[in-house]
Amino acid sequence: MKDTRQELEAVMHAGRALGEEIREDVWIPSVCTICYGGCAIRAHRVNGTIVKIEGNPASPTGSGRLCAKGIAGIMILYDPHRLKTPLRRTNPQKGIGIDPGWKPISWEEALTETAARLEKVRAEDPRQLVLQVTTTMAPSSLLFFTFGWAFGTPNMWVAGGGVHCGNGAHAAGGITHASWSVVPDFKHCNYAIYFGASKGHGAGHAATPNIAQAADARERGMRMVVVDPMCNFAAAKANEWVPIRVGTDAALALAMANCLVNELGIYDVEYLRTKTDAIYLVRPNGRYARDAASGKPLVWDAGAGAAKTYDDPAATSAALEGEYRVNGEPCKPAFAVLRDHLKKYPAEEGERISGVAAATIRRLAREFGAAARVGSTIVVDGVTLPYRPASAIFFRGAQGHKNSMYNCFAIDLLNHIVGAADVVGGTLGFNPVCHGHPESGRPRYQPRPDRDGLMAVGSWMLPHVPYPPAEPRRPDSVGFTELFPLSHVSPLMASSDQEQWWQRFDLPYRPKMMINYGANSIMSVGNKEAVARSLKNFDFIVSFDLFLNEFSDFADIVLPDASYLEVFDPRPNFPFIFNHPAGMGEWGWPIRQPVAEPTHERRSAREVLLGLAYRLGLGPEINMAINAFYGLDGPQMLDPAGTYSLEEICDRELKHKFGPARGLDWFKEHGVITWPKKAQEVYWRPFVDVRIPIYHEYLMELGERTGKLCEAAGMRFDPRYYGPLPEWLPCPSHEVKDAAFDLYAFYYRDAIQVNGFTMENPWLDEVARMDPFSYRIAVNAETARRKGVQDGEAVWVETSTGRRVAGRLRVTEGIQPEAVGIAACAGHWTEHQPIARGKGVFFNDLLELDFEHTSPVNLNLDLCAKVRITRHEDQHAAHGA
């Protein structure tokens, strides 16, 4: 036998062949981008080969730990099926599964043709250009939009993102927490209730850091209740799973709110008075009573027996209840109106709609209300702060419905009733306040009040902000977001009824050219036929991709992109409201830098696009757009007349934020800059003079204006979605009358697969195949028995609208009996991704993609479908592995 030393030598040759000399052995800090989470990583490179990717221990977004997807990035970097050269189609016919007849061409050829096409489009009407990007690279891919601004097109969208994941959650998060999303304050929360969310359980914003925070909370004894049709991820780790009928979250939340306010009398008077519009007087027509001179909303000062403006010092004792005559009309404080409104939702009504027992609803409300400890305080870092250790959070599952906006507002209302918003132990937005690095004071932002005293965000992902909403106007863009100002991303970019909308509103042009960045929109939005039809409208599509995929069947030129491990980005993890861990701890700003040089003819898409802008003579426009996007000013501002490389732009952005000594060279070496968070930043609510609406008066005005424009154009508009107080309104799936279609299909985020492109990763695929659920259709055991289908059998899932997908069953006790659960964005059929092909189930193909199935407020697509399941006639085909 060998001695220990010999043995260890035998096991310590990671990353090189036995006996091979070590010429290079380095760890390079960068940022993961397998999902949009953007965790900080470091890559181990030995003799030119990446042999390991780990979380970067120097960063709060990496903390030395990384999820399985991030670790598996090596297999994306080295996938032999990646594009190697630019390709040009030779077959003019486009369609799903029709071979484009790819022919390799040179970059020069590809760029010359692309530039010529762009010049022609720009000369005709620049709005004919559509930029489509993937969520996976967000927020980095937003840099792509600077090309759109420079070019002069309003048509840019994140294909699948937004319409699926956050048009509702991000708008609501922005309006009430000044942040993209919300989490419990894991460090201090004692009672968290999750509605269709998995924060801390393997997916979503700040996914990896949240896992440790959630585990700490569990160990500390935080009680977690998960409201979800399926018992997976979060529900599996919860103290209690509350199975709910798909898409009925608002009904449950409103019934809980009614219990709190009208049965238990638990609400935070101080918070409601000082931090919300609960005291604003509401007229019989539903609008705020306003001061004639200033236009400011009025409140009732009980002491003086008179109405005063909300910002009058006397407002602190303003009435929450009662009825008062103001300007000759009987007016009530918004809270009193809310109280009356909630009476429509007794627990029994909540039970009727959601399937959750009335007794359970009452108990949950009681537990939540008691846990909130209304009136209590706590000292954190020497600062005395409100202490409300109860939190109600929501995300994809709750917001992914036609009733998206009300679902989110109804759930979040629970936090505001008990004052548990951005205070210790409550629901936190992701970092809406940052005072900046101690030396540079940057980045610095915080929410500010609008003219009604209501909160506008201090930092946001996109140029438009959720509140105050822009004035609705006749649309100039393909997606009609001008008509629906609370939306982020519009399904009209690919919907089956887009032409009808364009005609009715006399859109003076049609989309003709698309530049796509990594989005596989054939699979990522809705049913493939609708998307394919919309793609056929384009004369020319250029697509930057890692692989040929289902979308490539519609592209004219495909360009081989460098992967996230081969490119620069100065702010892959910013803005902090997006995916930086919330709660106390550290700020961390990492950069993305190449850990390997691009091989073959791959190039960074963003550098190519920047080069194209300069080539088209759009230098001043793109430089100014980049200045605006990064907020560059002073010496770091790009000269409109200059020509810059992406590295130079990175250098300027970093110096602008962290001073001249911390440019790109400093960051290449250090990877990340960190500094401590302050209690005044994390628990900002008491320190920032803003209110949030519990009574969404602005929605009424918005609905009237949008409604008028729609009616004038002859389009159906449903004003019920624009009320000031949340309601439960059914999804189209709830209104299907045919009893043969008796189940609600929905999809959920898997912990091992995310979006569409990880399916091609053989490490992730191998684990997903070992997982009981990743590639299967989950159905309740009793339901399966009733239908005569068994675990492992191939079945059809068929909608009442005639769409169907095949897959294999997973019979489980962990799903609500009316629900059908399918994971992720799977079911690829392209031969160019042999690992992904035929694995899992293509849920999105069940989704209708039209305005009828879209929230008329925020344009979120309805992501549930009424279906039936039947045994597949061919049990031997692979059907989702």
């Binding site: 096991v11 040759h13 999820c67 585990a215």
Partner: protein, 201 residues
Amino acid sequence: MRLGMVIDLKRCMACYGCQMSCKAEHGTPPGVFFARVLKREEGHYPTPRMLFLPVLCNHCSDAPCVSACPTGASHYAEHGIVDIDKDMCVGCRACMMACPYNNRYFLDERRYYFGEAGPTPYEEACSDRHPEGVVMKCNFCRHRLAEGKDPACVENCAAKARTFGDLDDPESIVSRLIKERGGFTLHPEAGTGPNVYYLGP
């Protein structure tokens, strides 16, 4: 010193980070996972329990694989770690039959993740570590321990569910966790003296 691991099932949420970090650390071929996560459900709707169990070699104190090995390839290395000397392994697989935990793998022929497309540069760099015709398994990342690091699965665990240390030292964190939270081992009836402990969910 007797090295061992404690896995806190209350903290684990089955993200598969251990399974993947182990694969990346060791460059194991397709089908081989020194660390795995098993999922199982118990009970009935509406109160089912979803159970997650991360598993790996238990580095038993009375390891049946070591007793069963005819060549001495399976052996106790430093601090009780059970390892395989691949140069001595003749691939008889008696150890696999003897192990009650099913955490050993036999590599019958070289395979790569992209099949006929051949090995990636990463797999090329790792392939010497896993010769054909021998048995392989977790060795608590001895190469990392020698550098003063924890095993890859421990260092990477996003839920911080894994703790590694000296089970012989009653004051070590692992010993205290086992004592305070009633740590248990898998298949104690097999009498193998596992050195991987679990804390209940």
